[in-house]
């Protein structure tokens, strides 16, 4: 049982919404990144999927725009404790990008312009659970929030939704990414409060 802090009563204005443990609701859109925000010109932008067999699939910005997109409404949960509900996005489902990719890999490492990486099981990217998103709230995604395009995997803490995503490497073995190497949880399920290693 947690100890009670004398004189603390808390704010429970929006108590009817259910949040993962330890999260609080925000209406802002905070930013978490470990370094400066990279800027990537759309003419240079590309997205790749590399398989464990050494095959590479590539999309230019025009290729990405030509793919069928979806407009999911998603709840976001950041490990720094804020949650933001009902955010509107536009992007291409990973199912579409993976359609012609032949793989038996179990793990994926997403990597970004600027050098960021994050790992997750491949199945967490499939079956309508993940997107490469390029519009937020009807507008082009701004660089601080990961533009021109970011990965979105909303059922995991937001650090798994790699900003400035550049590609995904499919692997037979799990390979910890940036925050996963720096003490954060390998999987990051907010409903299980998997914030840090050992949670």
């Amino acid at each position: 049982m947690a100890i009670v802090s004398r004189g603390f009563f808390g704010r429970r204005g929006e108590g009817d919404v259910k949040l993962p443990p330890g999260q609080y609701l925000t209406h802002d859109f905070p930013v978490l990144s470990a370094g400066p925000t990279p800027r990537i010109g759309l003419d240079r932008w590309e997205f790749t999927i590399d398989t464990e067999l050494g095959e590479t699939h590539r999309w230019s910005w025009a290729d990405l725009m030509a793919l069928p997109s979806e407009t999911p409404t998603l709840d976001l949960h950041c490990v720094t404790k804020w949650s933001k509900l009902g955010t509107g996005w536009q992007g291409v489902s990973l199912d579409v990008l993976m359609e012609d990719v032949e793989t038996a890999a179990e793990y994926a490492l997403a990597y970004s312009y600027g050098g960021y990486t994050t790992n997750l099981p491949l199945e967490d990217l499939l079956d309508g659970k993940a997107w490469v998103a390029y519009k937020y709230d009807g507008d082009d995604l701004t660089p601080p929030h990961g533009g021109p395009a970011r990965l979105l995997v909303p059922h995991l803490y937001l650090w798994k939704s790699a900003k400035w995503v550049r590609g995904i490497r499919l692997m037979n073995e799990d390979w910890p990414g940036f925050w996963e190497t720096a003490g954060y949880h390998n999987y990051g399920d907010p409903w299980l409060e998997q914030r840090y290693q050992g949670d």
């Binding site: 802090s5 004398r6 808390g10 925000t37 404790k81």
Partner: protein, 237 residues
């Protein structure tokens, strides 16, 4: 892998930094120690079991089981008004950590360091300045500390007589002291220019401040890999 446990933290000392910020020193039995730049999670629980958590940077290097935080009041906030106005000596909260292995300065490191703070973003950078002093490090440090007004500066006395090799510069965004040469205004490239770009930079503060300062460092030729940032929230770009 062992879970980072929640530990009971008892407030043992309070220091007022400004009219809206105070330093809280907690005694945390079993505290494993931390590095300068890391943060902790603070959990508050109400009598009916409701609880909430926030992150706070540690303001001082490891000192046994003591954990020192500096909290700035965010009006209408849930946690910071409690920590800055209600919590008293002898009261308890829960703390878990340390967290964050990236925004960290290690005393073994000899490279010159540029610290860029906006508002309460000063807190983890002060831990680095104090760690440098404690270690007797001679790594050159330069601090650029942006605040709205002169009386919003934390750690004023301590920074008034800086350690040898530590250079301190202030930026006032709204109101300057009398006779201050730089007009009030947000951080600009000339504030950051001058020194060599062969340095490690730590930039911490509200998101907008960090975005602006980090972009300016890049434009001045600093390598992105050598700029580490910590964004305290709230709003993004």
């Amino acid at each position: 892998m062992r879970r980072l446990p929640w530990r009971v933290a008892e407030l043992v000392e309070v220091r007022h930094e400004t009219t809206t910020a105070r330093t809280l020193v907690f005694e945390v039995p079993g505290w494993p120690g931390h590095l300068a730049g890391q943060h902790v999670d603070v959990r508050l629980t109400a009598p009916d079991g409701y609880s909430t958590q926030r992150s706070y940077s540690v303001a001082a290097p490891e000192q046994g089981e003591r954990v020192e935080l500096t909290v700035e009041l965010v009006r209408d906030g849930e946690v910071s008004p409690y920590l800055t106005e209600i919590l008293e000596i002898g009261d308890q909260v829960e703390i878990r950590g340390p967290v964050g292995g990236w925004f960290v300065w290690r005393p073994e490191r000899v490279a010159p360091v540029l610290l860029v703070a906006g508002g309460s973003g000063m807190v983890p950078l002060m831990a680095m300045i104090r760690a440098r002093r404690e270690a007797g490090s001679s790594a050159p440090f330069r601090l650029i500390y942006s605040v709205r007004e002169p009386d919003q500066r934390f750690y004023l006395d301590e920074l008034a007589s800086p350690d040898p090799g530590l250079d301190v510069a202030y930026i006032f965004t709204r109101k300057t002291p009398d006779g201050w040469a730089r007009p009030p205004g947000r951080i600009m490239p000339p504030d950051l220019a001058g020194a060599s770009t062969d340095i490690d930079s730590f930039v911490c503060g509200p998101t907008g401040f960090v975005e602006a300062a980090a972009d300016q460092l890049i434009a001045l030729g600093h390598a992105a890999e050598r700029i580490r940032t910590e964004r305290f929230g709230p709003t993004g770009g």
